[in-house]
């Protein structure tokens, strides 16, 4: 029982990391219908900047996150304004956007390697110091970094939910998501909404790569690797559903760790992806269906 509880908590933390990557991607896709695969590479740049400012420039974690925030917003908006907008106008349908997004993602990933080096960076020691025993809650041990990951995940979803439901910008984003033509007719400037969506989508996912790097080291591919699971989670949770994305992320995380109770760990991914396949087959719209 203790073991199952520990695995459950470990799974929730893993789910939190997946959710952080997925939330920005989900927002961007649901509002702009852009399969922004470069999202993962942009997050990787964010993690490198946090590491670089903290470890190399001595600017502290806050300074690192501030620089990273500016960078991801600029990169996200630049992708939309300089690349996707032109492709949308010239070639409606979306496939060329996927190709372009994949290409810029790989370019960014390689540029990050050239600038920062291709070796794995030790984010943990450089930013928060050496590992210490986790906090004990009864039979469950929860490292402080995992607790922070969970807290940040829930905070990001809460703030984004509030933004979408309660603010003028959020309402405009939802209007564009529901019907871009009608939104234009009623005076909503869709290009501006697209730009804002890319900025917010990039910003809310910014901590994701940092937490992944904190857990297992930072290298150029971590963002892209994380995108694979995030992509599946977004569709399994239901396009446009924040809650669906969060639930699907936690479900995948918990499934991955809890499956260890009954199967050999070598079959972990097989089980996870089989369940996801079953879900999207039986319920093609995903767990939940609409934005927030």
């Amino acid at each position: 029982m203790d073991q199952a509880l520990q695995l459950l908590v470990d799974g929730l933390v893993e789910g939190g990391r997946i959710a952080l990557v997925a939330v920005g991607f989900s927002l961007i896709y649901s509002v702009t219908r852009t399969l922004h695969l470069a999202h993962g590479a942009i997050l990787t740049v964010a993690a490198y900047l946090v590491w670089w400012v903290t470890a190399k420039l001595g600017g502290g974690l806050a300074g690192g996150f501030a620089v990273a925030a500016i960078a991801v917003v600029l990169l996200g908006v630049a992708h939309n304004d300089l690349l996707y907008r032109r492709i949308r106008e010239a070639s409606p349908g979306g496939f060329m956007i996927v190709v372009a997004s994949l290409a810029t993602g790989i370019i960014i990933q390689n540029l990050a390697g050239i600038v920062f080096g291709f070796d794995t960076k030790d984010v943990r020691t450089a930013t928060i110091g050496q590992a210490t025993a986790g906090l004990r809650f009864g039979p469950v041990v929860l490292p402080a970094t995992n607790l922070i990951t969970l807290a940040v995940t829930l905070a990001v979803f809460a703030v984004l939910g509030w933004l979408l439901m309660r603010t003028r910008t959020g309402k405009q984003m939802r209007a564009v998501q529901d019907n871009p033509q009608l939104a234009r007719v009623v005076g909503i400037r869709t290009p501006r909404v697209y730009a804002v969506t890319f900025a917010i989508g990039s910003l809310v996912s910014m901590p994701a790569a940092f937490f992944i790097g904190l857990n297992g080291g930072l290298n150029t591919t971590i963002g892209f690797d994380a995108m694979l699971l995030a992509l599946i989670v977004v569709f399994a949770g239901g396009i446009g559903s924040l809650m669906g994305t969060l639930l699907a992320s936690f479900a995948v995380g918990v499934l991955q760790t809890m499956s260890l109770l009954v199967i050999d760990s070598r079959w972990q991914d097989t089980v996870t992806f089989s369940v996801l396949l079953l879900l999207v087959t039986l319920r093609p719209r995903g767990l939940l269906g609409k934005l927030a």
């Binding site: 794995t120 030790d122 943990r124 020691t125 050496q130 992944i212 080291g217």
Partner: protein
């Protein structure tokens, strides 16, 4: 006219054949050899250390006039720890650079490229891949480091008999090396009368081992053997500490890397692993001392075991080329292979070394631990 044309064509074909044959792949008095190192990715620190070891050795050999007059040059190709990249890299070294010899590393790379070396008669000298499955993999593959089965027996015997640990958990990365190491450790531990209570695998690119460690810790084993390398070792050790796991940690021979000391600072204290005898703080011979001093002068740090292994390998190559030059034999893959097998004892900084017909070698081993953020022989604690 026709005969003249045929003669001309014949001469051209002979010239072309000579120009493309490995035997003339180097200018007179100069030999370019290849290296398949992981210079990028999660295991980049291995390639960095390995190339530095070769670099120091080549500087010494060339500074003394070359190996029997032949100046040695190194062409590094990056495999990034990925088998497919390793295959492309060795194909390039074989077909473009036409090298007769490569330094190679990583079990998965060696396993994937061994057939290319055999096909193109390129000698592959391994100073870093240690899976027991590498023995006899290719007639052109030689390992100047002991394979992991020797290390596993060394550390398992110490943990079981000397420390009295009887139950063992195993965490391994599900690749060629991790799988082979896991099986070897399981059998060895059972042979020693111990019990393996839990075995967990992790994906090759895993960055989270908490689930597997939780499962292992549920059985409260006396010791946990972690068959992983690079940043993954540091991650697993840090997560072990965060989960409050207190079992004795046993590692692999390739743990003499900065990640274990720095990325797993604190979490690696007290781990035990077996490696070839190498203690840069106490060099065991004049040659070893010379290497440590040269390395420190050039790179500002002490050489770890990985650098030392490739330094030793580069000097073995130097001895072989010298012998071939003295015997006035052409420097080809087959001749290098013959010389490695029949040279007799090579004097290395680890001690005397002989190659067995299956390409393996044995040498004195030592048990290492981490104390106060430094690698220390267990006996010197």
């Amino acid at each position: 006219m026709r005969q003249a044309l045929v003669r001309l064509l014949g001469k051209w074909l002979v010239s072309a054949a000579i120009a493309t044959a490995p035997v003339t792949s180097h200018a007179a008095g100069e030999l370019t050899v290849g290296a398949l190192f992981g210079m990028t990715g999660p295991s980049a620190s291995y390639g960095d250390q390995q190339s530095k070891g070769v670099d120091i050795a080549f500087a010494e050999i060339n500074g003394a006039g070359g190996a029997g007059g032949t100046i040695l040059k190194l062409k590094i190709e990056d495999h990034g720890g990925v088998a497919l990249k390793g295959v492309l890299a060795l194909n390039k070294l074989a077909s473009v650079d036409k090298v007769p010899f490569v330094f190679t590393s990583f079990t998965n790379i060696i396993s994937a490229t061994a057939s290319i070396g055999t096909r193109d008669k390129i000698v592959m000298l391994n100073g870093g891949g240690t899976a027991p499955t590498l023995a006899g993999l290719s007639p052109y593959l030689f390992s100047n480091v002991p394979l992991e089965n020797y290390h596993i027996r060394n550390e398992a015997t110490y943990a079981n008999k000397k420390l009295g640990r009887k139950t063992l958990g195993i965490l391994y990365v599900n690749d060629a090396l991790g799988t082979a190491d896991s099986k070897t450790m399981e059998q060895t531990w059972k042979d020693l009368g111990g019990q393996v209570v839990a075995t967990q695998a992790a994906a090759t690119d895993a960055t989270d081992f908490t689930g597997q460690l939780t499962q292992i810790w549920a059985k409260k084993p006396d010791a946990i053997y972690i068959a992983a390398g690079g940043q993954q070792v540091a991650t697993a050790l840090n997560q072990k500490t965060e989960l409050g796991i207190t079992s004795q940690i046993l590692g692999t021979s390739f743990w003499t890397i900065p990640e274990v000391l720095h990325s797993a600072k604190g979490a690696s204290e007290g781990v035990i692993f077996s490696t070839q005898q190498w203690d840069p703080a106490r060099p065991s011979s004049a040659d070893a001392k010379k290497f440590v001093e040269a390395f420190q002068a050039k790179y500002g740090t002490q050489p770890l075991g990985n650098s030392a292994a490739y330094y030793a390998g580069a000097h073995i190559l130097g001895d072989v080329i010298t012998a071939l030059n003295q015997a006035k034999k052409p420097i080809t893959g087959p001749n290098i292979r013959e010389e490695l097998l029949h040279h007799g004892t090579f004097q290395t900084i680890f001690g005397p070394l002989n190659f067995a017909p299956d390409g393996t070698s044995s040498m004195p081993l030592t048990l290492m631990t981490v104390k106060n953020d430094a690698f220390v022989p267990v006996a010197n604690q």
